[in-house]
């Protein structure tokens, strides 16, 4: 597990209560992890804090899966 994926999994676990082991790169936030639009905002804000990146509102809709988010964060940091 990459460091980014590990950190993101901890955030998703805190926001939605999803077990850490279920949070893998191919999972869709909405369809698999029970993250609704408002929870997604909380995930994004927590990522900004944790990884020191900026994820603008317009970008959020492109982050469909956990892997999308990890790739975006890694490219930024």
């Amino acid at each position: 597990m990459s460091q980014t994926l590990e950190g993101l999994a901890a955030i998703v676990n805190e926001v939605a209560g999803t077990p850490i082991e279920d949070i893998t790169a191919e999972k869709s936030f909405v369809d698999d992890l029970d993250i609704d639009s408002l929870s997604m905002v909380e995930v994004v804000m927590a990522c900004e804090d944790k990884f020191g990146v900026s994820i603008p509102d317009g970008e959020v809709k492109n982050l469909r899966t956990v892997g999308d988010a990890v790739a975006y964060i890694d490219a930024q940091s």
Binding site: L38, M40, V44, M45, D57, V60
Partner: protein
């Protein structure tokens, strides 16, 4: 050159009493879900709302304001003739002119009062309370009746998925008067007009006149962006307000934020690390979001339930369309 007189200033002001009015008709989530292809469960999860109130046909913003204002006046024991100013915070009074306040003052017997409306959306009550405190301390007014009132039934589209389930109707009031100590702490307020489009009308009146659409202009909201702004900024504003008043979260009896969305309240409560003993206003569950009316409605309900001992401190914070915000710590009546 003649010199101008000035009036004596006062040490402080405080909230003397509160009153509220909730229309009789209860609208459940099932009642609104059909037209927005939603469900009771979806609405509860996204907003914490279970039901909201709706005005009867013919029941107006001024009717609700008078009902709430009359209760606040009665509980204060202050004669309505002594009220110097009636401030009505609203964005849903359906007359361009005249304002609601003069009619409300007249119907309440506040025959010596000035009256004006204040349009600061969901921050309207805290804006008006801040003005009332300033007016009383400056000597410009003695007793000020502050009313937050909204009838969103007139300005919400029942088919708009972002807002149809959120807003409700209602009114809340507070009578504010002179005090020998500070009963309303410093008001922290601000505006960010760059974000004016996050919560706005679908059309302006002038656009509607030139090019009428099928639907009357209604409130639209970019929910996700508003949520992000609120969750990130409201805790910071709240902390600055506490600091300005010289108190901490441990000194609070209650936290009564604008009832925008239960998820926002939950996130702000977490961010502020409120101690267990602080009572949190969660009136949205049965009232929906009533914009300027939400804080006084929540405050009055908690007081009626004997959850707020007199003399305790409550942190109020309003935030919404504009974007605007206002916040203060008050001593509970």
């Amino acid at each position: 050159m003649p010199t101008l007189n000035s009036v004596p200033v006062r040490v402080g002001s405080r909230v003397l009493s509160t009153g509220s009015y909730r229309p009789d008709q209860i609208v459940t989530n099932d009642d609104v879900a059909g037209l927005i292809d939603s469900s009771d469960e979806w609405i509860r999860e996204r907003s914490g709302i279970v039901e909201r109130r709706r005005c009867a046909p013919g029941e107006s913003v001024t009717d609700m304001a008078v009902a709430a204002g009359a209760k606040a006046i009665a509980k204060s024991g202050i004669a309505p003739e002594l009220i110097s100013m009636v401030l009505v915070a609203t964005v849903t009074h359906p007359y361009q002119t005249p304002a609601a306040a003069p009619e409300v003052a007249f119907r309440l017997g506040a025959i010596n009062a000035a009256g004006a409306d204040l349009g600061a959306a969901c921050a309207g009550f805290c804006y008006s309370l801040g003005l009332a405190d300033s007016m009383i301390r400056s000597g410009a007014a003695e007793y000020v009746l502050v009313i937050g009132v909204e009838k969103f039934t007139d300005f919400v589209s029942p088919t708009d998925r972002g807002t149809a389930f959120i807003f409700g109707d209602g009114a809340g009031a507070a009578l504010v008067g002179p005090s020998d100590h500070t009963g309303v702490g410093p008001t922290l307020w601000g505006a960010d007009g760059e974000q004016k489009d996050l919560i706005t009308m679908s059309q302006s009146w002038s656009e509607y006149r030139l090019e009428p659409r099928d639907e009357f202009p209604y409130v639209q909201m970019s929910g996700q962006q508003v949520f992000r702004w609120a969750v990130s900024e409201v805790p910071k504003i709240a902390m600055r307000t506490l600091e300005a008043s010289g108190v901490t979260v441990n000194d609070l009896t209650a936290f009564i934020p604008h009832q925008a969305n239960m998820r926002i309240t939950d996130a702000v409560v977490r961010a502020l690390k409120l101690p267990e003993h602080v009572v949190v206003g969660r009136d949205i569950e049965t009232t929906g979001n009533t914009s300027a009316a939400s804080i006084p409605l929540a405050l009055d309900r908690l007081r009626q339930a004997d959850q707020l001992p007199s003399g305790g401190l409550a942190l109020l914070i309003g935030f919404g369309a504009g974007l605007v915000y206002a916040s203060q710590v008050i001593e509970l009546p």
